[in-house]
Symmetry: C3
Subunit: 340 residues, 3 copies
């Protein structure tokens, strides 16, 4: 796809300075701009790049006054940052605008399909699945029987959704995500251990995004619940019967054990581990690698450490930890002098 | 699938109290019971829910005496808990009872298939693969050449088994599991590093279950071995030439490095990391995020910490760690007074 | 495949001692040697096994003098270790020598395919993809539009490469790897959060290997870059706009957050977590579970701990940590005596 400076200025309600017929086919950072790319300048710290960049077109604030000659065609807009964000979205929409149903996919006769959907090659849609409007199911996806999917949701290649789950609207699942695998529950027996059947499901509410290779287990009974607006990075583990509150963010590699309830608006950093059967208050935040083994009931607090401590206390303790050998020597000297 | 109270009572050897023709199509927790669902009451702490639940049928202990009127149909049995467990299993068996071979899958001519198997859409079974009886290969699974699979084993969608592996009976592999990828071994060279060929395999014994997106590497030479009854949660890494002893449990996100031998009946919590070439005694248990860098040879001990310490010692040290700033001040005061 | 002692001696430029017609079909460790297998003896600590092993053929150093009778056929070479390495490579090459394009795969008309490639069942190659010579695309792989792939690169089953990425020569991607999923970036809004479009890509240079189920996010703008010779173990997370320097090794379960630049020749152990927007000097090494939250600019240093400390300092601090209860008691006694 190619667009001219004139076309872009029209989309953004901007004014062209230079040849309106210059065209671009990609986007770039101003410091990495190449011919045929479009960039933007907003942060004053990057202003010097505008005199050197090879980007063919640059979006700038209406108020910008160049101090040297600029080679690129300029498009002046009210806010270069907002305008560029709008362009990114348009670009993404055009790129992800596939529709149609491949002849090389499997769709059960009892499945109900919405309008304007995409189903890619080698995908599988099971019995009684309900697919909303504008849903995009990329190649090699599996949707198990009785699962329902809300409008506008996107499944990237290779996502696996087990049977009986409920997926909301406007969700995005990246490649390799697994939803609805069995919870990790076994009952000890005389010989070995016996699997406890996992017959619940997973409910993912609207506006949820999950990164690549996340694994979300179904509930033993009832539902594992991912509330509206939750965002997961890559490689996250959510166990059976967990509930993640609205608009909570979880960074890559974190894991939440069985039946734990995480509140709304929490920020959980990478590699955080939470034990099972605990409750985390709304607005809690956790530093990287924090290990949480107890309920935390006071909203809006920050934690770090393994095991978790209030972040400010942990930092004071770790400052002493860094000098423990000195403290130990200090104590030995005190002892010697006292004895002497 | 719908079942009436009468049918269920017959399966469970129970007695119906109320209309035996009332039917249910799903199971629920008593506190979340909805019309059309079946629940059970066993824990006395939940007794009050029986008077409010909307579950259509409730399984109760023979001895239960209601103190208020109950709206649901009751089925009285010797033990409500045992009876409900039996129902869960039946439910699961019926749900997972697919058989037949899809026309849209690839099976090499030299593969040998058992009786009563299921092979789903877009699955691939390579040359000389041997598949036991009652095996279920869901859609989009890959089984590489020369791999053998024992009876009753289940592969959920998207499992990838490389060539030359040996998989036991009654195993369950959840979506996204990878078995037999190359071990992480390279030899330094003048320029860059050279891959050491990984030509061993993985042996998974009977009754093993692995959660979603686990990754088990093949041995360099010989076998990576997962013994009978081992259970893995999601997103676990097992390196080349590792051996995991019988009935050991590993929770989500843990990783075991190359050539380490873990004993029987160990309990390894989430995010535990073990270094390579060490030996872990039978019955060892590890708290979440423990880092193990040395062999642990005394059976039945508990460890926690990064690096690992005996759990009781770690707890005493961490208690002081939480108050390190106070200890440091105390020492400074002592010094001042001593000098003064 | 079977090979006789005579054939193998010829490949290795060695001399047979015993029946040159004895044949083998597999390789084994000398301590686990079985009839029909070939093994080697190099490490003197393993010499005693040569008198007991059932391996049919053993490669030994020219200089080896047996002290007891040996049952196996021997092949004498200059260096048994080097010769065995050569055999492993040959074995691997023969095993991975698939070519041809399956009739059950999808290749867009605009894709450009090199010579001598393999494309397995149910794989998908999108619009404008360019595939180099000798590339092996195993079954169920997805290659998104506009992605280019260098010569000799191998994709194991189920790898998912999103659109617009650039993959080098001689790379290996193990099953379940995801390249090019969206970065984890959202802008807070009045209600919930808004996804920031991720329109950059991933560039993987030559000679890179990635283990099973790794997840590499595309850049927001520009490229996430994995430099020449980088090796990843399993289950690794690389965020948007990260750069990993040449010949750096990362062990299983590690994660690098957005925009961080890791230098050349670094060694990053299992479960290491690095925060975003930092820079790591060339030749840095990190112990297991290290958490890195600040730039580290001095080359060639070793770190460990959460948060990271210089390794030698961490070890001294942790030695005191192990005895913190004793130190605390010591201080209390000093205080008592001083007061007394």
């Amino acid at each position: 796809m190619k667009f001219t400076a004139g076309q872009i200025a029209q989309m953004l309600n901007g004014v062209v300075e230079g040849n309106p017929d210059v065209s671009v086919s990609t986007l770039s950072k101003i410091e990495e701009g190449k011919p045929g790319s479009l960039s933007f300048l907003s942060n004053p710290l990057y202003t010097h790049y505008i005199y050197k960049t090879e980007a063919s077109i640059i979006i700038i604030n209406r108020s910008f006054v160049p101090e040297h000659p600029v080679n690129s065609v300029l498009i002046r807009v009210e806010s270069a940052e907002v305008a560029f964000g709008k362009l990114l979205e348009l670009y993404n929409q055009i790129k992800n605008n596939k529709t149609g149903i491949s002849k090389q996919c499997f769709i059960a006769e009892t499945a109900i399909l919405g309008n304007n959907i995409y189903v890619g090659e080698y995908s599988y849609i099971g019995e009684n699945v309900v697919v909303g409007n504008n849903v995009k199911i990329h190649p090699q996806v599996f949707i198990g029987e009785n699962t329902t999917i809300g409008d506008n949701t996107i499944f990237f290649p290779g996502v696996k959704i087990y049977s009986d789950n409920v997926i909301g609207k406007n969700c995005i699942f990246h490649a390799g995500v697994v939803i609805g695998s069995d919870g990790f529950r076994f009952a000890p027996q005389n010989e070995g251990n016996k699997k406890i059947p996992q017959i619940g499901n997973v409910v993912v509410e609207d506006d949820v995004e999950m990164g690549a290779n996340c694994a979300i287990d179904r509930a033993t009974l009832g539902s594992t619940i991912i509330r509206k607006g939750v965002k997961f990075d890559n490689l996250i583990h959510i166990a059976h019967n967990v509930e993640i509150g609205e608009n909570t963010y979880i960074a890559a590699g974190a894991g939440i054990a069985g039946s734990t309830k995480v509140g709304k608006n929490c920020m959980i950093s990478g590699h955080v581990a939470m034990t099972g059967h605990i409750t985390i208050a709304d607005g809690s935040s956790f530093g990287g690698q924090t290990a949480v083994s107890k309920s935390l009931t006071k909203p809006g607090q920050s934690y770090i450490g393994s095991p978790a401590m209030e972040a400010s206390k942990f930092r004071r303790s770790i400052a002493v930890f860094r000098n423990l050998p000195r403290l130990s020597e200090q104590v030995d000297k005190l002892e010697k002098r006292q004895k002497g």
